[in-house]
Symmetry: C2
Subunit: 343 residues, 2 copies
């Protein structure tokens, strides 16, 4: 089942077999056909270890996901993203493998392991933290990588990100149009670049609309159901509660809906709920359907993969040797969770 066996079976040298399989031009068409047929028949496929040892490449790209992310945020987001990434890589014969990891400290070790042991040719980080040491490490080693979401410094590595300024403006435009003046925001740990940007954009757009920025209306909490539940509880216990709440993280909305329902209130009637998250399948099936943002997650994944490929020497020329950093637009899709006029 090795290449030697295959060569012996064909009475050809292993060099020729290798060349035939890898599509080198200096091999007779007839010979190539024989080799390919025999390989298919005997079920031969080149051993990954041998090949990668020889040519220093693995044909594997790793996507790093923290279990923090998968337990506290929308897993569907990453699934769709991964699907796009994978399809793009597949066109170049690259496999995507997903590494789950405990959050925080271990992440750097895992990255180091992947790089030093050459477990992948390139890396994708699903999120970036404040002063993320992984970025410095990777850049220092010259290891190809890309991130979902820009980093704090912007950086010289490829990334894809979303236009949060636009989203926040559209959201507050809409809410202000309904007459809301006390608008709240529920984000996660501002140590994540994403949440930090959301908060900044929120403050800016609020001010831009002449609305007062009340820090008490900006709650930082866990971005899953329970966080949303508690945030809504806190809001409604205030002497002067907000009339509209923006939940960038979709899963927190579920908790918020839950508390509203429990307390006899109704989203879209008693409190306006609006989410800046991607419009995954579940949003339109909530009761009432959730106002959020439409986004081509699959395409985003593909593009992120392209950005990474453009930074890998092997593939750079196919992608114009450019550093690709893009901010993606999305489109507000208004539904019933916030559609009411405050009086």
């Amino acid at each position: 089942m090795g290449i030697k066996e295959l060569a012996r079976h064909l009475n050809i040298s292993i060099g020729t077999v290798s060349r035939a399989l890898n599509g080198h031009p200096e091999v007779n068409a007839e010979t190539r056909k024989r080799v390919l047929e025999a390989a298919a028949e005997l079920g031969y496929a080149p051993d990954q270890a041998g090949r990668s040892l020889r040519q220093g490449t693995l044909n594997v790209v790793a996507l790093l996901l923290s279990t923090d992310l998968t337990s506290k945020t929308d897993t569907m987001f990453f699934m769709e993203l991964s699907r796009g990434i994978q399809d793009q890589f597949a066109e170049h014969g690259l496999d995507l493998v997903i590494h789950l990891n405990k959050p925080d400290l271990d992440m750097l070790d895992r990255v180091k392991r992947i790089v030093e042991r050459r477990q992948a040719d390139a890396l994708i980080l699903a999120e970036t933290r404040d002063n993320d040491p992984r970025l410095d490490y990777l850049a220092g080693r010259g290891f190809p990588f890309a991130t979902m979401g820009r980093s704090w410094s912007g950086g010289t590595h490829p990334w894809m990100d979303l236009d949060f300024d636009f989203a926040m403006r559209a959201a507050i435009d809409r809410l202000a149009g309904f007459g809301h003046r006390r608008v709240a925001l529920v984000t996660g740990d501002p140590g994540y670049r994403l949440d930090s940007m959301l908060q900044d954009a929120f403050r800016r757009e609020l001010a831009g609309h002449g609305l007062v920025v009340d820090e008490a209306l900006m709650i930082k909490t866990d971005t899953h159901e329970e966080g949303g539940y508690k945030a809504m509880t806190d809001f409604l216990a205030m002497p002067e509660p907000p009339t509209a709440v923006i939940f960038p993280h979709y899963r927190a909305v579920v908790g918020a809906y839950s508390y509203l329902s429990e307390s006899g209130r109704q989203p879209g009637r008693d409190v306006a709920i609006l989410s800046c998250s991607a419009d995954t399948a579940i949003a339109q099936f909530m009761a009432p359907p959730l106002t959020c943002f439409r986004l081509d997650l699959y395409g985003l994944g593909r593009r992120l993969a392209q950005a990474l490929l453009a930074s890998m020497p092997r593939f750079a020329e196919s992608y114009g040797n450019a550093l690709i950093q893009e901010i993606w637009p999305w489109e507000l899709v208004g539904r019933d969770s916030d559609g009411f006029h405050v009086n």
Copy 2:
């Protein structure tokens, strides 16, 4: 950065360095300390390709997920499962990598690629299909693998599964106790072993409770939101609708809730909804909170990994050389989605 460089830097032979790093006993304690320190300082880690070429092992286990699964079923389920699997493997220095794949036909090719190119030491399949060719292939090659969910033939490979008979009995006990006599079931494609078993158990338990089995009340559809929405629509359009519906797949419940809400009905008052899915975070935050089954997904993942390890020659002895196939219990946690008495 290779082992040669490290050895030269220490004035030791590469053989000794390798032995020191791998914890072989025939190396001086002082020498080992020097080697380990130098390795840490210079950031040396053995190249995976070289090592795996030499010793034929990769220290990688692959988990195969189909995008069909991730787009139509509960992704949280697999995330929690993966976390358990990964933690268990980590104790043996094995990495878990997740391979996303298009469903159906390509899956066999992907499996073949993984095996033939030696991209992993073992494999975990997240689901099994009717007459699944992957199982025969893997068994034929003697490649270590395990499955989540038993296969049709039971098989001689390790697996973990859930006690659907128990779940169905508990569910129908409860519903019958509330006085329900027309109970419906919404499953996915019975080509999946899981859905097939659910249907069988449903028929059996219904009969066991003296209730009539009406095939019209057994809908097979997509197991995501839209499928649930449509199923509920169909049910309520019947001349004699069911008074209770069992949704083994959690995401379908969201769709069902949605239609009920739209049509002015309420789960737990007009129709009883009960899910056989695992009790992920979202269930208790639905409105009304969903009756479903409590399950230790993380522990299940760990145990599945143990079962696989027990079938791998390298680790078998640590796990008693046994074939591990287990059916896991779960516990019904009653909430408000089905808590009413039919009159």
